[in-house]
């Protein structure tokens, strides 16, 4: 099974909604790890050179799964993130 990389992209210092997004991702990742998936959660700075170079302008919070932005400017539910990660792992 492939490892799935999830990036939570927000400003530095983090804002309230980005923290909420990160929590949702972590919750989903925790659950999937127990089910045997390989998930790596990373936090990225929305204003860093690398991120803008990679993704362009973003609205925070954004979530990228395997280097593709899937969610922009909203806080998803853990279930939604779970589904997205499972799709990527397949």
């Amino acid at each position: 099974m492939k490892e799935v990389k999830v990036e939570v992209i927000g400003p530095e210092p983090s804002c309230v909604r980005c923290q909420a997004a990160k929590k949702a991702v972590e919750k989903a990742a925790e659950k999937l790890k127990q089910a045997g998936f390989m998930v790596k959660v990373e936090k990225a700075n929305i204003m860093s050179r690398e991120i803008v170079q990679k993704y362009g302008v973003l609205v925070s919070p954004s979530i990228a799964i395997n280097n593709t932005i899937k969610i922009m400017g909203r806080v998803p539910s853990p279930e939604e993130v779970e589904k997205l990660i499972m799709e990527a792992a397949r």
């Binding site: 400003p11 362009g56 925070s60 932005i69 899937k70 922009m72 806080v75 939604e80």
Partner: protein, 352 residues
């Protein structure tokens, strides 16, 4: 199939809730008596001045008074802001943000009011626009436009003060934002920053963005949640602000307002007070309304309202990305714009 009906019902309920709010808004507009009752007169009528307790009661009375006629408007403004934020196609906008100057300016001006009701998205977007290669001009325009004409403030200005002022506020914000963007992008320090950031964008590959759209009921729900989040962020500061506004409204004599907040000096004073004096979002609308009913001229009122973009909190946040020279330049331009257009509007509307 069952899942689908459940979702439809949920979406229907939320939509119904929105319609009720809109209906209440329309209803309150139709039935509203255009009462120009001033808070101080209400206090006089209540005959509270004999007891020293009045000093403690003022903030509570003022807040109760304010919310009794503004609650529906606030509810409406927050819900609309939430809905628009959720349904505006963010990924389309951000994709075009980096494509050339003209597109950058147009998007910055059109989109800033909808994307940035919350200041925590504003500074990152400013940085993003810079990095993505649109240049310092559009980035500055965006930065000035966002707090001056965001959807919340415009709705509240229109409903609580007048739609004429709200309209002028939008037009003047656009003008000042474009002028500031153009000027900053020709200054040597503006160009330095632009160059610094453009190095990064030249190597940019096509961005990989595939936004997942959740079903309608979830989107509506998250729009409401965002509205709630906004309210939680803004209302505490707003209420603290109202306490101050309550005291000012009870104790500033009309004479002082009529002397100092009219004419050319009035515009100058209002523009200086409006900026550095950090007023939390929406408080400037409440205080402006009070001062206006006490005799401030329309020109001074506009200058006062235009003070938002150059307050200190914004400037501090931006100076982390751009150099202080850029910050100083756009602050001076925003201030000059607020004075110029305040005078112009006062002159044209015959209320200077």
């Amino acid at each position: 199939m069952k899942e689908k009906t459940k979702r439809n019902i949920r979406a229907g309920l939320i939509l119904a809730f929105m319609f009720v709010i809109m209906g209440l808004m329309v209803y309150s507009r139709v039935t509203a008596k255009p009462s120009k009752e001033i808070f101080k007169e209400k206090l006089d009528k209540l005959g509270l001045w004999e007891s020293p307790l009045v000093y403690l009661a003022i903030p509570a009375l003022y807040i109760a008074d304010y919310f009794s006629h503004a609650w529906i408007c606030l509810l409406f403004a927050f819900s609309v802001a939430g809905l628009i934020y959720e349904f505006v196609p963010k990924e389309t906008i951000t994709r075009y943000m980096g494509r050339g100057k003209a597109v950058g300016y147009a998007l910055a001006l059109l989109m800033a009011p909808f994307l940035t009701v919350c200041s925590c998205t504003m500074v990152p977007l400013f940085g993003g626009i810079l990095y993505a290669g649109a240049g310092i001009g559009p980035a500055i325009s965006f930065l000035l436009m966002a707090p001056a004409a965001n959807i919340l403030t415009i709705l509240m200005t229109g409903e609580m003060i007048s739609w004429e002022i709200a309209g002028v506020r939008i037009l003047v914000s656009v003008a000042v934002a474009i002028i500031a963007g153009l000027i900053v992008s020709t200054t040597p320090w503006g160009k330095t920053i632009e160059k610094e950031f453009q190095l990064a964008s030249s190597a940019r590959s096509s961005a990989r963005v595939e936004i997942v759209k959740p079903p309608l009921d979830e989107r509506l729900w998250s729009a409401l949640k965002f509205a709630g989040y906004l309210a939680k962020q803004i209302l505490p500061f707003f209420i603290v602000g109202l306490i101050v506004v309550g005291y000012l409204s009870a104790f500033i004599p009309e004479k002082v307002v009529e002397t100092y907040l009219t004419g050319v000096t009035g515009v100058l004073i209002a523009s200086v007070l409006g900026g550095p004096l950090y007023t939390p979002t929406l408080v400037e609308v409440a205080l402006g309304q009070e001062l206006w009913s006490k005799g401030m001229s329309k020109g001074a009122l506009l200058s006062w309202l235009m003070g938002q973009p150059y307050d200190f909190a914004n400037a501090m946040a931006v100076s982390r990305i751009a150099k202080w020279k850029v910050v100083a330049t756009y602050m001076v331009i925003a201030w000059a714009g607020s004075v110029t257009f305040g005078l112009l509007y006062g002159f044209l509307s015959g209320s200077l």
